[in-house]
Structures are given as structure tokens and as C-alpha cells.
């Protein structure tokens, strides 16, 4: 019988991974730092979460520095300290986001009830128990105003993007500059502009359409910039193929470029909606605000979700603040859904 010699399987080495002893050391440093922070807070008069965090950070960094200094050398020790700062920077950036999400969820859900989506506030005051009245008028207002703003801004935004990517005429640089400048216009200035240009001169009254116009000033740059980015991603081959087949530029853009960028353009619209859905200041100036359903954007003041939250917050009682959190929760859910939809669309495009 012959013996079959088994092939020697060489285990791949991974020198960049930490060895068990190194892992043990870092766990030890972590625990020691934790112990030091508890000890210092217990002994000295420093109190509070801030003290724990600060002492833990200092102790952890110092111990880690010393450990690496003696095992690996000076430059490794510096590297370790830098990593400590960089990671804690990331933690500090993430903490408020999580805190905001958790707070809104915990405080908002108490004010949520089914009938709030089918009633308005004409029969109840902000100070009434949360179960009476609702924010249907605010939802309708936000929906109508954002929809009209979308109708105004989508053509202008996409035309601007097409100019920047397809025509590239002599105004390309100035327009790119102006669009960027426009995205920095403070929202209150947009409100003041509509107030000065239309309400004091022509309309002399608050209405939903004025709110939409103010919102579209804020929406156009968002849509234009996102669409521009999307259109730039369309390969030039497609445009050249369209022209080579005898199409005019107009037919190439309408039948080839825009359809190819469709989902990206939808993403641009969604991001535009998310940008303005929570705008408060301009609507306070130009759309007024009301307590009842108003389906006519051309007549009478119109409520909106941010206005509802603002008013409920200003009342300051326990019940009204609960309403405000519920309103914020609804607003946040809308923004989250829009945002996830945009992510989903652009992720699918990437695959």
C-alpha cells in the first residue's frame, strides 16, 4: 500500500492583526482606566457624567501611551494617542444625532394618537389634553406648500443643471457660482424677500402660495446641485452615441440623457423636499398660520407642521409641549422616510 502524502496546508499569517497578548493588554488598559475614573470621581469633588468621561479619556490615553511607548516605541505611542483623539471626535459627532433621535422618539410617541391625523385645532386649544384636536391642518398645509414649491423648483432646478452639464455656455462658471451662493441664502431672507416683493406690493395677505414661493427659493439650489452631480455621472459616450445616430442635441438630452439619469433626478427632488419640509422661519413670515384646514393655497393663511410645532412650543404648558414633540416626531418621520428613499434610489443606481 502506498501512503498518500497529504498536502501541507500553510496557514496564512496575518501580522497586522493584534496578537492575543496585545488584546489582553488593551482590555487591561481599558479596565484600569475605567477603575481610575470611578476612583477619582469617588475621591475628589468632581461629579457628573462629564467628569467620568473626561477622567476616563485622560487615563485611557495616558496608559495607552505608556504601554505603547515601552513595548513599541515613541512613534507608535504618538499614533495611539492620535487614534484616541480621532475616535473620540467621532463619538462626539455621533452622540447628538443619537440623542436627538432617541429624545424625539421617547417624548413624541406619547402625543401620537390616531385621531390627530383626521382633526384640526379649530375646536381645541394647544393647552387641552393631547387627545383633543390634531395636526391634520398642518399636514395638509405642509403637503400643499411643498408640492407647489416642487412644481416651481423642479423645472428651474433641472434646467439649471442641464445648462451646467449639457450646454456649458459662457455663463457656466457664473451660474455654478450663483447656484452655490443661492444655497447659502438664509431661510429668513427668503421669507423677507417674498414679503417685500409680493405681500407688501401685490397680495397684501398671507397665503399658502407665498409660502411655496419662499420654499422654492430654498429648494432650487438643492435640486440644481444634486441633479448636476447626477447628470455629470452619465457617461459622455451616451451623448456622443445619441448625436452620432443623427439626433439633435434636444432629442439626445430628452430621450437619452434624462431617462438615464431618471432615478438620480428623483433623488434630487426628494432631497429638495427634505430640505424644505422643516423650514419654519420663512413660513412664519409669509404663510401666517391657522388652526383649521385650508385647502386653498391662494386664499387665507395656511398652517404647516413646523408652524404647528412652533406654536405648541410657544404656549409652554406641559400639554402643548407634548404636542410639539408629537409634531416634531411626525416631521422627523417624514424627513427620515424621504431620506431613506433617496438613499435607496441612489444605492440601487450604483449597483
Amino acid at each position: 500500500m502506498t501512503t498518500v502524502q497529504s498536502a501541507v496546508v500553510v496557514k496564512p499569517t496575518r501580522p497586522w492583526l493584534a496578537k492575543p497578548s496585545q488584546r489582553l493588554q488593551s482590555v487591561g488598559v481599558f479596565l484600569l482606566a475605567l477603575a481610575i475614573s470611578y476612583g477619582v470621581v469617588a475621591v475628589t469633588p468632581m461629579k457628573g457624567k462629564l467628569a467620568y468621561a473626561a477622567i476616563f479619556f485622560i487615563a485611557f490615553t495616558a496608559l495607552d501611551y505608556l504601554l505603547s511607548y515601552f513595548t513599541l516605541g515613541k512613534s507608535a505611542a504618538k499614533d495611539v494617542v492620535a487614534r484616541g483623539f480621532i475616535v473620540s471626535g467621532m463619538v462626539i459627532v455621533t452622540a447628538p444625532i443619537l440623542s436627538i433621535l432617541v429624545t424625539v422618539l421617547l417624548r413624541g410617541y406619547k402625543g401620537i394618537h390616531a385621531s390627530m391625523f383626521t382633526t384640526d385645532m379649530r375646536a381645541s386649544s394647544m393647552n387641552d389634553p393631547v387627545a383633543s384636536g390634531g395636526l391634520m391642518h398642518a399636514l395638509i398645509g405642509t403637503f400643499l406648500m411643498v408640492a407647489i414649491a416642487l412644481i416651481i423648483s423642479v423645472p428651474l432646478g433641472i434646467l439649471t443643471a442641464l445648462y451646467l452639464t449639457e450646454i456649458r455656455g459662457r455663463f457656466t462658471k457664473p451660474i455654478a457660482f450663483l447656484v452655490q451662493a443661492m444655497s447659502g441664502v438664509p431661510s429668513i431672507v427668503a421669507g423677507l424677500f417674498i414679503l417685500s416683493a409680493l405681500i407688501y406690493t401685490v397680495a397684501h395677505a398671507y397665503s399658502g402660495i407665498m409660502g411655496s414661493l419662499a420654499l422654492s427659493i430654498l429648494m432650487i439650489p438643492t435640486i440644481a446641485r444634486t441633479s448636476e452631480e447626477v447628470l455629470l455621472l452619465i457617461p459622455p459616450d451616451l451623448r456622443e452615441a445619441g448625436v452620432a445616430l443623427g439626433g439633435t442635441q434636444w432629442r439626445t438630452v430628452a430621450l437619452v440623457v434624462v431617462p438615464a439619469a431618471r432615478s438620480g433626478l428623483v433623488t434630487a427632488m426628494i432631497l429638495g423636499i427634505a430640505r424644505v419640509a422643516g423650514e419654519t422661519a420663512p413660513l412664519l413670515l409669509v404663510a401666517g398660520g391657522s388652526d383649521q384646514n385650508n385647502l386653498n393655497p391662494f386664499h387665507g393663511p395656511m398652517a404647516s407642521l413646523p408652524y404647528y410645532v412652533w406654536k405648541a412650543y410657544s404656549f409652554g404648558s406641559i400639554e402643548s409641549v407634548r404636542r410639539a414633540w408629537a409634531g416634531i416626531l411626525v416631521l422627523l418621520v417624514i424627513v427620515l422616510v424621504l431620506f431613506t428613499a433617496a438613499r435607496f434610489l441612489s444605492a440601487r443606481k450604483g449597483k
Binding site: 442641464l162 423677507l192 424677500f193 424627513v335 431620506f339
Partner: protein, 328 residues
């Protein structure tokens, strides 16, 4: 008409655009110029409405520190006693925005470094999307959260600052009123601008030439040594641009500042004392009970704010574009 050989006749070759293309180009160019039109209209209408007040006050509109409206019996403005000067609010605007930057920029740069060079890919995707999400949060949400959740903690930090660093002029206080101070407004604004500064810095850091990064590693640099020698010199100007974009955003913020700041019409350099304001929130505050003349003055204030943010944003975008980012 087919020729004798059955081939179609030669078409005339021309580079002249067709009629449909001319229409297309005109329409698109007109649409593209809409941003110019809108910005021009904003400027001219605010200037037109605010003109009488700006003319009356002159340069004093920016440097004066009083805001009072006195009407005579006919309802016209009493020019001797009326004063419109937005200096306190202008200073407040800049002060709050600068506090925001001092808090936000270091943290954002560290976070951007983490996202570019440290984070595992899956975690990076998640963190980038929640930071983008935070940029889309409505400002009233920051206002409410800042007022109810953040304010108690920040007040405590303010007390610590006063206790240990009280000798710095900015942290002095004559009256121990810590609530609703510019410092708190600055921290809330900082949280609002963190997503902007972080994502711009990340974009710029990600553009660092790979050959230089690898050259640094090949020479035996640790990750931090590489960042210090390659990434920071490369990305410095982009970070400055991102910070200025954040400055522009912080200067124009209305509702979040209005909810957390105690708006008092006086020049206040002591950032821990609970009195301050900014131009945007002052407009919102005074608008409710303003008479016709005062509204004109508010339009003038809006014009100043518009020009200020326009200036800051333009410089910022120019810097960001030059250093490889996409700008906002």
C-alpha cells in the same frame, strides 16, 4: 429624391444648430439664469423696501446700537428720536457663529479623519449616512432639542468655564445668569454645522493623492505620521473652506437661535451671560409687532444679513472648489 444609383442624395453638412436645438438652448439658458434673476430680485427688493431707512441712518445702521421707533402724531417717523442700528445683533451673529466654529471644527476634522482613514467600510457607510441625515434635520428640531435636552448640560459646562477660566475677558460675568446665553446658542449652532464641516473635510481628505499616502507608509510612517505629513497639508485649505461654509450657515440660522437664546438688544461680549441675539432671530422677534416703518428697517437688516452670508459663502465655495471638494 433618390439619385440614379439608388443611393440617397448627399446631405448638406453643417454645424448650424437646428431650430429645435435653438429653442432648447434658449429655454435651458433662461432656466439656468433663474438663479441670477432670483438673487438679483432678492437684493433689489430688500434694498428698495429698506431704502428709506438705510438712507436715513446711513452707515450708522451698521454701527449704531439702538433700536427704537418713535412716531409723531401723524404716524410718521420722528427722525430726531428714532434710531435703527443693528450693531448688537450683528456682533451677536458673528459671536455665536464663531463659538459654533470653535466647538465644531476640531471635532468635525477628527471625525472626518476617522471616516476616511480608520473606519471599517460598513461602519463608514452607516456613519456617513447618519451624518448626512443630520444635515437634513429641520432647524426647529435642533431648537427644541437644544432647549429641553442640551441646555441643562451646557449650562453646567458654562459654570465650569466661568469657575476655572473666568479670568479670560470673554468668560467674565457681572451677574451670574447662565441660562440662554450666546454660549449655549453657539453650542447648538455647532451641532448644526458639524455635518457640513465633517462632510466637506471628508471629501477633501478622500482626495489626498494615493501615491503620497502609500509613499508615506512605505517610508515606515505610522498612520498618524502619514496623516500629519500628507493629509493635513493637503486638506488644510479645504477644511478652512468647509469651516467658512459652516460659518455662513450658522450666521443665517433663525429658529434654533430664537428658541435657545435670550434676545436682549445690547452689545454683549461676555458669552456666558444670558443675553444676546443675532440678526435673523431679531427679525423674527420684532416682525410680529412691527409697524410699517420698523418693517422697512427689518428689510434693511435682512439685506445686511443677505450680503454678509453671500460674501462668506462665496469665499468659502471658492476655497473648497480650489482644494478639490464639491462645495455646497
Amino acid at each position: 429624391m433618390p439619385s440614379a444609383t439608388g443611393l440617397p442624395q448627399r446631405r448638406e453638412l453643417t454645424t448650424k444648430p437646428r431650430f429645435s436645438d435653438k429653442v432648447f438652448r434658449t429655454v435651458v439658458t433662461t432656466g439656468g439664469l433663474s438663479s441670477l434673476l432670483i438673487l438679483g430680485l432678492i437684493f433689489s427688493f430688500l434694498a428698495y423696501q429698506g431704502f428709506s431707512i438705510l438712507k436715513m441712518e446711513g452707515f450708522h445702521f451698521i454701527t449704531g446700537s439702538n433700536w427704537q421707533v418713535v412716531l409723531d402724531e401723524a404716524g410718521n417717523i420722528d427722525k430726531a428720536n428714532t434710531a435703527f442700528g443693528i450693531a448688537p445683533m450683528l456682533i451677536g451673529t458673528i459671536l455665536c457663529a464663531l463659538i459654533a466654529l470653535v466647538v465644531a471644527v476640531p471635532v468635525s476634522v477628527l471625525a472626518a479623519l476617522y471616516l476616511t482613514f480608520y473606519a471599517p467600510p460598513a461602519l463608514k457607510r452607516f456613519l456617513v449616512s447618519i451624518i448626512d441625515l443630520m444635515a437634513a434635520f429641520p432647524s426647529i428640531l435642533f431648537g427644541l432639542w437644544g432647549f429641553f435636552i442640551l441646555m441643562p448640560s451646557v449650562e453646567y459646562w458654562a459654570k465650569l468655564l466661568h469657575k476655572y477660566l473666568g479670568w479670560i475677558p470673554f468668560f467674565k460675568m457681572e451677574v451670574p445668569v447662565f441660562t440662554r446665553s450666546p454660549f449655549i446658542a453657539g453650542v447648538v449652532l455647532a451641532i448644526m454645522v458639524i455635518p457640513i464641516v465633517t462632510s466637506i473635510s471628508r471629501e477633501v481628505f478622500a482626495q489626498t493623492p494615493l501615491d503620497r499616502v502609500q509613499a508615506a507608509y512605505a517610508l515606515g510612517a505610522s498612520r498618524w505620521a502619514m496623516i500629519r505629513a500628507v493629509v493635513i497639508p493637503y486638506g488644510r485649505s479645504g477644511v478652512v473652506g468647509g469651516a467658512m461654509l459652516g460659518l455662513g450657515r450658522a450666521m443665517g440660522e433663525t429658529v434654533a437661535v430664537y428658541t435657545v437664546l435670550n434676545i436682549v438688544y445690547q452689545v454683549n461680549w461676555h458669552i456666558l451671560v444670558g443675553a444676546g441675539g443675532n440678526v435673523a432671530s431679531m427679525i423674527l422677534l420684532k416682525f410680529g409687532e412691527a409697524g410699517a416703518q420698523e418693517v422697512k428697517a427689518l428689510m434693511g437688516a435682512g439685506l445686511v444679513l443677505f450680503l454678509l452670508t453671500l460674501l462668506v459663502n462665496s469665499i468659502a465655495n471658492a476655497i473648497v472648489l480650489r482644494s478639490g471638494g464639491k462645495g455646497r
